[in-house]
Symmetry: C2
Subunit: 392 residues, 2 copies
């Protein structure tokens, strides 16, 4: 693939993030002479990515024409979880124009799942959401070779190993596609439109059924040599701890995750230490992390303790990672982020106590702002990047 | 500072790393037209950094002139430890032309220590090693703001906090200077001329009196937001462990480091569990990690166990970091690297067992090749980089 023109890329991203801008302002912001800007814009108009959008308010001299991304640009953003699929169709500015959420068991394998995604995207076309897609971004719950666009030995995705996800989507929809893991797309989303906006070095911790970490270093996602950087769920926190699904003992994920918390809640309900959980267990067959969160909000001390214990364990791992990576922010996201401020207080307490003072002097530990939309937002960012690169 | 010309930088580094090269070969390697190369070289000759070096062997056509770095270029490389200072003066190709090692207590403060370094550099001039220095690189045993050229809250360097080390050296010697921490310069050295040659993503673990980690990501040293990335010595490995000098309990460094091993050796000697150590303790007042290494080589089982226990603890921390960072190599260096293969075997065993198989499938865990020279080698690389940037 030829190298993208950095100026074109910068221009397209500026229009994506700021909306309609006058030519005069663009020339100012990019610090290039007006004639050069005009010829560059002309080329981008020819690609169909950029259009004129009327006249700007006068700045004193001649009025300047506004330019914007073509309002018909459409990106598909897909966040594939272990048991669900979220799809958003966005315009060029990454604003959602349609959204679909469905249950989907990742273990059904790539053919079934990708077929279902293709059906959703076709449905969106029939509904008039798009004529054609300009790019697709997809996040999957496992390690990915970003370069090759394929999952690599994903533990909870039987049948997906090295399956050509990117190639299949590109062929089916006739547009570029990009594949990343679910945690990275959340980190990318949070940096684009969330609490980590414009932060260059931060950790995004996803607490869901499992636990993972997206890593931003020097303004770029760091994926590691094999694409599996950030796999913090299997860091050992207790050599005497329970067996983990990975075969080792005492992994963080085995002690604190959606799955672990659900199990502990059931144990507490049956042992009679939590009346609130016990009552919920009479109404349904199993408890989840959400039950623990809700009972904690109502003041159930066992639930508060479960969350604090979990926060302490996660905090211990994060304290080590802060000493190692010296980031400027930690963002907590994923389904368990609704454990909220009890969790956050415990994590902060451990991290601030255990890491080097220099590294924590100015280190916010905060909750994700985008919540459940972090993943699709990041997938849309990736889609737009790959579309812009090919247009440049 | 103006931005350095990337082509000039590339050219100077090529001459540094490969020695005399013909103009024809240079044009080939840099993939630029011969006339452009000649005009660029002319500019570099004018700066005094590049000189002609006779004629190359014929490649069939007209014979091409060899060019090389000016043989009179001199870089000073300083590796400042807690209790010693190593200085090398190198030529442009980073080959040592003189070396000095002295005891020096870092706690004497920056004025005394830097004065002593200046004296050593002046002595080298008197001895005819250099007329003047072209750049100085220095590593110090604590966190550094690389951008500002000052130590920042260094725990074992009283009086050095924010002391203008770079500014002072620059003023004293009239040449650019660069300050980094001791572990980073070792990692840089190992990548330049050691086992990590041309490896882009690796961890360099320094096991000395303390424990630290240099981090190479995507071909660059990663220093973190405050310059203290890699501070792995204070990751907690045992909540019931001994008190650490940092005030927390159970830090890696409190359980496995030169200091910790010396203490444990004395305990073993006095408890009678190691006859070899007991005998050594009759001859002097304290034992060091070297005693443990030597007794282990002679087959002392207690010493072998001490090293294996330490390796297991370090391995546990590294397993977590491998899951987090997914590097392509781990290099073990520093004074304790002479614990050698017993240590290495234990680290490997833990890392390979505990980290994600995808991340360890092809992950060498190896000893430093440069040993005690890693630090000065890296300091010389940094010095040459800053000199070349200013010449470009």
């Amino acid at each position: 693939m030829r190298t993208a023109d950095p100026l074109h890329l910068q221009l397209l991203r500026l229009l994506r993030d700021n909306g309609p801008v006058s030519r005069a302002e663009l020339a100012d912001q990019l610090q290039i002479p007006r004639p050069r800007l005009l010829s560059e814009l002309e080329r981008l108009v020819a690609t169909g990515f950029v259009t004129e959008a009327g006249m700007a308010a006068s700045r004193g001299g001649r009025r300047s024409t506004l330019v914007e991304l073509n309002p018909n640009l459409r990106f598909a953003a897909v966040d594939l979880g272990a048991s669900s699929v979220d799809v958003e169709i966005t315009n060029g500015r990454l604003e959602p124009v349609a959204a679909y959420t469905e249950a989907a068991d990742i273990r059904q394998g790539p053919k079934v799942i990708l077929h279902r995604i293709n059906e959703l995207l076709a449905k969106a076309r029939v509904e008039g959401v798009h004529d054609r897609l300009d790019a697709i971004g997809i996040g999957v719950p496992g390690p990915v070779s970003y370069r090759d666009g394929v999952p690599v030995s994903p533990p909870i995705m039987p049948g997906w190993d090295r399956f050509p996800v990117r190639e299949l989507l590109t062929r089916e929809h006739g547009c570029p596609a990009v594949v990343d893991n679910d945690v990275n797309i959340m980190a990318i989303g949070e940096r684009h439109g969330g609490v980590a906006h414009s932060v260059d070095d931060f950790l995004f911790v996803k607490l869901g059924t499992g636990v993972g970490c997206g890593i931003y270093l020097s303004g770029e996602v760091y994926r590691g040599i094999d694409g599996c950087a950030g796999d913090i769920g299997h860091i050992q926190v207790d050599p005497q701890g329970p067996m983990c699904t990975c075969g080792n003992v005492g992994c963080l994920e085995a002690l604190f995750s959606g799955a672990a918390l659900g199990k502990e809640a059931a144990v507490a309900a049956r042992a009679g230490t939590s009346p609130a959980l016990a009552e919920r267990l009479t109404q349904r067959s199993e408890l989840t992390a959400r039950d623990v969160a809700e009972c904690a909000m109502e003041g159930d001390v066992t639930c508060i303790r479960l969350i604090r214990d979990g926060g302490r364990r996660l905090g211990g791992v994060l304290a080590g990672l802060v000493s190692f990576a010296n980031p400027s922010m930690i963002v907590i996201g994923g389904g368990l982020a609704h454990l909220g401020h009890i969790l956050l207080a415990e994590i902060r307490s451990v991290v601030y106590r255990r890491s080097l003072p220099l590294a924590t002097g100015n280190l916010p530990v905060v909750l994700s702002e985008l919540g459940a939309r972090a993943g699709v937002t990041g997938a849309a960012v990736l889609a737009s990047n790959v579309a812009f690169e090919q247009a440049s």
